[in-house]
Assembly symmetry: C2
């Protein structure tokens, strides 16, 4: 009886199945669970990688580890700690340990690469290890054990094991079957447990919750409420089963969303085929797989296990002089925080830190051509290390495309000048780098959009499935006073539990160089005009404050106390004497309202402010810490910032948290329409004047000639 | 010597030159000022209207007045008040006086139109008149004199006259010439004076400020600072000249922006031609010029003198039942407020209310094809009345187009189900209705974007020229402490004066019917968990409050006190018992910080809150009042709302103010890159489930086949 569920188990986890979904030379499976009849075969349309990764070499100091490099790190680790060979030590993440910034900045094409190093987060003998490996010398440079609280990012094995352990529990199986659920329909999903005090200390635990996939691929909408098992990952045993008794399982009807299966008439007139078309092909080049050159921008892009996608060394050409000018050294989503708002026993722990707990990279499935990205898109693969140190390629994980949405870059109509009508307008064409990750139920799409006027827009779009709660109620009227207990009723027996999303970006701004930036807070202060001085009684005056230390830069936004926030280089002045700057324009604002002494908020203390600026420190990349799983909050952005280091005229890092409160509604069922929010990095006295004033308009003769497919 | 300046004068004003810019059957010019040598000829690429407006008839109760109807109103008015014939009474605006909502809602295609009426704002004998004319009976139904403070919207004649009066002043001319400016280069621009207390009462005044157009079409960047003349528009005399002495006039170099003239190398790689392509043509129909049908949406769109563009009767088809369901009866930008932040004598009065002071319609020049709107756009003309009652057609004032930007409507990747990869993603295609208006220096683009999932996004994009101030300083270092006096130095001798933009939208939501809507404030309240009840210490709980009266709906947004705001129909419940609702999702938030007793803020009291809900009242359309020019603030949204009428389960109107603080920077010179902000109206338990779950993905075979123009 355990067989089918074991086999099913083997197919449960996003990280895990990444293995199968993708690449023909996938290494020998590292886990025994995959044998048997239930092994899933790749039937989908997933693409093959575009390049032969087996022989790929790095070309740029920031290029991610190649397949060969990953294999080499594995060999070095096997020599370092024999437990890696036996399988009792596991690699939880492996990424390029980037060279020092000064080395990278000085590096020029043609130079030898700085020595290649890897940083490995591993678990060996129940201890967390942060290991730095030098690939050139073949040596382990450092192996730090338990530098902070917390465990490394989870692996696919962790998830598999947790489910298996739970399903080996007769009591757990009995609880499932008592609800009339066949084990062959069971989806036993391990979820991250957070951290709630000393009693959870000293052991890695996962909580396994249950869904049924009977008659639907959308098991997320069919929770088996009132039951979970806590699994000790070291002892491989169930240490607690919570069974509050059966709750009605929501129906399967209405949960299907696959186009090939769904036969749902849509009352909507046909929309004629429409497309962004660029018959001459894209205008950008991707040099050696990672260095993107487009219009006046150059940047490095790569896939990343933890943050999904990293943009580095974004450099814009000065429109007047042609000089390449540094804007941002590195930008990426550093951590996410998704707390659910239900304190009861079966839900309180759901307070996810997705980047550090599971990683955005492994869950970034291949993008769907023509739908996730337009036809003119170019795709980039990701290369990752598996728990056993072997490598895996995730094809089409990132797309790059030029975007034209009918928007206007600048315009002016003028008719005040005799004998010369003026109707000037310029279309806005941008370049987008996109990655979409399905962290379990939720799908997050990350866009970095580059404008020719120097603006960078970062957009996070959320779609996918809600994490819902089973309820006995089928109608709001049945609920009485309980309506708002943890969220609204969004289908029969389904509550959409209220939750927040916070996405904190690491934005290592290097405006015109790495070492000399400052944060200027540009305050709009209301002034009262002295009586009789003017018919006006009040106005706003700009006052500028340069932040001296990190505590000056712990910033909560306020509608009624408005500031602009500029990262400037006080050593680089415009011809008028204004310091070259970039401004962060907040968007998608929500504040975390949880108490600071609440464990989830302590661990996610990076969401205590919307904006922070810290002194650059190469070890301070991940806002929730290096080791996030079951972390106590001793290695967060709040902790670093509270050191209150000087940040004036220094190498500094800007952090911005984009947030959504999410109160679900019926339209979010069974899949949510995309919700998007953006923030912007915008030049402010960086250029001497509007840098796109000389750009040409579109003329009809330059546009493509298109015919319907049918008539081609 | 007066000749050239008179001739030049005639070409000074946007409203005025509208006359010349457009249509061959433009009526006999109503003003003598246009004779002479300087009359501007239409050389530009402005299009001809697509339809023969001379014989057009209304087909829908909300269709704007036709050319014939405008002529008929003129005839009726000539009979009503002989001063209209003599030119001593002038028509300041004329628009359809829309039939009662119940009549419009009940009207079906094929029915006779409700009686056609026009509302005319006029000035006769120095008094403001609000006149309602019945076209069917040929009668004036009402003629209300001075219903509130304020004068009607300005006309092109007003602007012309003000300049002329100023230039007839020897003292004024002397001041100009003392600055070394040739009168032939002078641009004497009348600006709105605001209202600053009793001494300005009882007379219409305009203030004339000066620029030089020497060597540039961009005279806005060449202010002649320190000088203005106040003109009494009744007595046609200069009542005050302020001359603070010459200030350096900023240079012409660097101000040009016309592509045909500018020869500015741009350090940027070529971007290959790119376009939104739809070779089968658009999927929408425009019935009788105004009724748009697309996908699951039907709405009425029309050009409007005051608000530029009005969307009416937006109705979405229920995706499950096919039932057409009312969402919004009427939506439009009701008023703008643009206060400049400089209290000194030459600037304090610049606190514009553009919609009510000059109107967005006459300044909405023809859109530039391929640049203001993509190639797949369809254009709609505007028809307006001139001061003498004759009509004028503004071609291509509105465009409609389907937008595809590479964005995703919804997605989910799932690999947890054996033997079935799931990679579902749907492209987002929307329909945009766009109008762009050049209110003097600023260009505002208004987009109403309709999504198939029921969401309406309203975007305001600002571009054009800053209103700048001359200064003796050429470098920030010269300024010393004065740097922040009224704004930053953005070019030599040019200060970009700090200012705000507030755009207040009238959103007459009729969710599933006109009479039974309520505002529900959905509050996220922080709860502290009692000790020991849960390992969690805090969470957010949803509490709903139904606003009883208008004062419950005077809403200031707060990041740390979050609400959702739903307009619901409590009488229309989903199958789960949730009331059908639409949510307003704020965006582009800025609060006006001016004191409430400051005259500009009193006049623009609609910007005191970001959200308001009022009881529907057909006379309460314009948030700053019907008569806005020199208004005292006695007819604003604040005044109406303070009546505190009941708004529960009633016909209610939602008001939303989108705002920007604008601290200029060098990139804003000489033309600003577009800055955009949006708010959204989003279904919330309006549909039973995600309404676009059944929509088809894009398949390559459906996309167009395109070739470069050169190879076609």
């Amino acid at each position: 009886m355990a067989e089918p569920s074991l086999a099913r188990l083997s197919a449960l986890f996003f990280g895990f199945l990444l293995l199968l979904a993708t690449y023909s030379w996938v290494p020998v499976l590292h886990s025994g669970f995959l044998s048997g009849t239930g092994v899933r075969k790749t039937l989908g349309p997933d693409p093959k990688p575009r390049v032969d990764h087996s022989s790929a070499k790095p070309h740029h100091p920031l290029d991610p580890l190649t397949v060969r490099e990953i294999e080499r790190v594995r060999t070095i680790l096997l020599g370092h700690d024999p437990r890696f060979g036996s399988g009792s030590a596991t690699i939880h993440s492996m990424a390029l340990d980037e060279p020092d910034k000064t080395r990278v900045v000085q590096w020029k094409k043609g130079n030898r690469l700085p020595s290649r190093r890897a940083e490995v987060l591993a678990l060996s003998g129940g201890q967390s290890h942060v290991i730095v490996v030098d690939l050139d010398s073949g040596r382990v440079l450092s192996d730090v054990v338990n530098p902070t609280s917390g465990y490394p990012i989870l692996t696919m094995d962790d998830l598999t094991v947790a489910s298996q352990v739970a399903l080996q529990s007769i009591e757990f199986n009995r609880s499932v079957e008592a609800r009339g659920v066949k084990l062959s329909d069971l989806v036993a999903l391990p979820t991250f447990t957070g951290w709630y005090g000393p009693e959870e200390e000293g052991r890695r635990i996962l909580k396994v919750q249950c869904f049924t996939s009977q008659d639907t691929p959308n098991y997320f909408m069919r929770p088996i409420e009132g039951l979970y098992a806590t699994v000790d990952m070291d002892k491989l045993e169930v240490i607690k089963i919570v069974d509050k008794g059966p709750v009605s399982i929501p129906k399967a009807a209405g949960t299907e969303y696959r186009y090939s299966v769904l036969n749902k008439p849509v009352h909507m007139d046909r929309i004629n085929p429409i497309s962004i078309e660029q018959p001459d092909g894209p205008s950008f080049q991707v040099e050696n797989g990672h260095l993107v050159k487009w219009a006046n921008w150059v940047f490095h892009v790569k896939a990343d296990h933890r943050s999904g996608m990293i943009i580095s060394q974004a450099t814009v050409r000065d429109s007047e002089t042609g000089e390449p000018r540094s804007v941002m050294y590195k930008g990426f989503p550093s951590e996410l925080f998704v707390p659910y708002m239900d304190p009861e026993e079966l839900w309180y722990y759901k307070t996810y830190l997705d980047a550090g707990e599971i990683g955005l990279g492994p869950a970034a499935m291949p993008l769907v051509p023509f739908n996730d990205c337009p036809r003119n898109a170019y795709y980039i693969d990701g290369v990752f290390a598996l728990p056993n140190g072997k490598s895996i390629v995730q094809p089409n994980m990132i797309c790059l495309f030029e975007r034209y949405a009918g928007d206007v870059s600048w315009r002016h109509s003028e008719i005040l000048i005799p004998n010369a009508d003026i109707r000037e307008s310029r279309p806005k064409v941008t370049l987008v780098a996109r990655m979409a990750t399905s962290v379990g139920n939720y799908d997050y799409t990350f866009d970095w959009e580059f404008q020719t006027d120097g603006l960078i827009r970062v957009t996070v779009a959320a779609s996918g499935m809600l994490m819902v709660k089973g309820t006995p109620y089928q109608n709001v009227d049945d609920l009485g006073d309980k309506e708002n207990d943890s969220g609204p009723l969004i289908s029969e027996n389904v509550i959409g539990v209220v939750h927040d999303h916070f996405i904190t970006f690491h934005l290592d701004m290097d405006v015109d160089g790495p070492t000399n930036n400052s944060l200027v807070k540009v305050h709009l202060e209301k002034q009262r005009v002295p009586n009789g001085k003017s018919p006006r009684k009040s106005y706003l005056k700009v006052k500028k404050y340069v932040a001296k230390t990190e505590k000056d830069a712990q910033i909560k936004l306020s509608l009624y106390d408005p500031y602009e926030f500029h990262i400037v280089n006080p050593n680089r002045k415009s011809r008028l004497g204004n310091p070259a700057g970039y401004r962060i324009i907040p968007g998608g604002n929500a504040a975390s309202l949880l108490d600071h002494d609440d464990p989830p908020q302590t661990r996610a203390a990076f969401s205590n402010n919307q904006i922070w600026v810290t002194r650059y420190n190469r070890s301070e990349q991940f806002a929730g810490g290096v080791l996030v799983y079951q972390s106590h909050g001793d290695d967060t952005l709040q902790v670093w910032s509270d050191r209150d280091r000087s940040i004036e005229n220094k190498d500094i890092v800007l952090w911005y948290t984009l947030g959504f409160h999410h109160i679900p509604c019926q339209e979010d069922y069974p899949v949510m329409p995309t919700v998007a929010a953006s923030f912007e990095l915008k030049p402010a006295n960086f250029f001497e004047s509007n840098p796109v004033i000389g750009v040409a308009p579109f003329l009809e003769k330059d546009l493509p000639v298109c015919t319907p497919f049918a008539s081609s």
